[in-house]
Amino acid sequence: MLCCVCKEKEATVHLTQIAGDKMQKVDLCEDCAKQKGVNDPAGFSLADLLLGLGASQEMEQATGGAEVKCPACGFTQADFKKAGRLGCAQCYQTFAEGLEQLLKSMHKGTRHRGKVPAALRESQDLAERLKTLQKKLEKAVTDENFEQAAQCRDEIKETKEKIAAIALT
């Protein structure tokens, strides 16, 4: 088995990390292992290594080798390979396909669980409410319940105004 960093020498150092129900493996030759600080347990973590290693490869595969450029900031895959960091928030959309595998191997899940900015939470709630109201309105119209339909229409108008007010601030 060849070393997955230099792809030249025989891999003699095999690392496995198990986090939750996921297993990650890395095979390295002695030189690369030393260079990556594998022998220094305090300074080494598998995620750091995987990040530098797997990320750009996976992105290349995902895009079939074509050069993708972020429309917002001009960042390319090659830049990611070099820096291990992305260019801007938009890059997460631009490189979404390639990043998905990477995020899977790196994190507990691929969907955010946790804090949401309050303003967003509010607008999410309002969007939800708008949907419910629109359904209610449709039903009221089909049922020819015009009194309720009128009430729904007023509430929809009110909710839309609130959404617009949030968008403005």
Binding site: A42, S45, A47, A55, R85, M106, H107, H112
Partner: protein, 372 residues
């Protein structure tokens, strides 16, 4: 006001204690945040970085927690100032390397510190002495909730807070504790513990974070995964692991004293001997020796010394803190001489360690955290 006038003296900060501060030196929770519509600092052009700084810095300064804070652009700090901040664990080495377009806002108590335009537009951290991760999270959560009203974050409902490095994506949280583990090092169990902790998806690093040596038997344990798990869950998971590490360290100390008392006493005695009597000592050697002296204090071998003194020496013997006390620029060799002068002076009235640990055999109390 310059940073030296602003920072509280180490004699004060080193004496702040928290729960389990015998083994847990400090707790820290850091959040990474970025502005919507501005490229990340590593990719942004200088003008864009400065624009981000101009948006973020006043917003941070206005928060109630930052009343009377120290706020400065990184290019107005000298390399010595920055090194002092690194030695106090207030900024990262990465941030210390930044100049124009990066900034720092630090509160009076050294308990809240915001780095602007480091790897992300915002890196805000809450620091606490001892094991207080929950409290640190509560503090920084509140701070973040106030700040989000003033600046708009880059946030995606499915990916969470968007960060320059995908390793921080989602919650953008890094929960960490700095641990003093001489027992596990002396009993040669430390590598086992590190690999066990790594397998749980947590990182173990040296004294100054990523890629640094574990000087003075000090290790940092932190979460690695930030996406797919909520902040309180991450804090809870780390707390559980830390409780176990604390227990292992206590057990290691107990069994060392039982099985190899001479090894332990010898290390502590030698550490005291060199620290109190040498005439040339490097910063690295000092830290490793102070670690054993700290252990000696924990074991009751230095009845007239408080742990705070050792922790203070930990800070003030480091290169930048030492340099600060002298106006002329010191070379490494001069520093080693002056460091030993200072240590001899500070330890002049400290009696040599007792020959047997106080309370040993009469059931020395273990500092074992209660299960939550």
């Amino acid at each position: 006001m310059n940073i030296h006038e602003f920072l509280p003296p180490p004699s004060e900060t080193a004496r702040r204690e928290g729960p389990h501060s015998k083994i847990v030196m400090s707790s820290r929770v850091r959040l990474a945040r970025n502005l919507k519509g501005v490229a990340f600092p590593g990719w942004a052009k200088k003008a864009e970085r400065i624009r981000a700084l101009e948006i973020v810095r006043p917003a941070v300064e206005q928060l109630p927690a930052m009343k009377h804070a120290f706020s400065e652009s990184m290019d107005n700090l000298t390399p010595l100032d920055k090194q002092i901040l690194v030695e106090r664990h207030l900024i990262s080495r990465e941030n210390a390397a930044k100049n124009a377009g990066s900034g720092l806002v630090l509160n009076k108590e050294e308990s809240l510190c915001v780095m602007i335009n480091e790897e992300d537009h915002l890196r805000m951290q809450a620091l606490r002495p001892g094991l207080q991760l929950k409290q640190a999270w509560a503090t920084i959560d509140q701070f973040d909730s106030q700040l989000e009203k003033k600046v708009e974050y880059a946030f995606d409902p499915s990916l969470g807070y968007l960060t320059a490095c995908p390793t921080n994506l989602g919650t953008g949280i890094r929960v960490s504790a700095m641990l003093h583990l001489p027992g596990l090092v002396l009993s040669e169990q430390i590598n086992q513990i590190i690999s066990a902790v790594n397998k749980l998806g947590l990182a173990v690093r040296g004294l100054y974070g990523e890629g640094t040596e574990a000087l003075g038997n000090v290790f940092q344990v932190s979460n690695q995964m930030t996406l797919g798990e909520s902040e309180p869950d991450i804090v809870e998971r780390l707390n559980k692991v830390l409780a176990q590490i604390i227990e292992h360290e206590e057990n290691a100390r107990g069994s060392l004293l039982e099985k190899k008392p001479k090894t332990v006493m010898d290390q502590i005695g030698r550490a005291y001997g060199i620290l109190a009597n040498s005439h040339r000592v490097s910063s690295k050697e000092t830290m490793n020796l102070l670690s054993f002296m700290r252990l000696g204090v924990d074991l009751g071998l230095f009845p007239d010394v408080e742990r705070g003194l050792v922790d203070e020496l930990f800070v003030i013997t480091q290169p930048a803190h030492l340099q600060k006390q002298f106006s002329e620029k010191l070379g490494a060799d001069e520093r080693d001489l002056l460091r030993s002068d200072m240590l001899r002076e500070r330890l002049r009235n400290v009696s040599r360690p007792l020959n047997t640990p106080a309370g040993h055999g009469t059931g020395a109390k273990l500092d074992k955290p209660a299960e939550e």
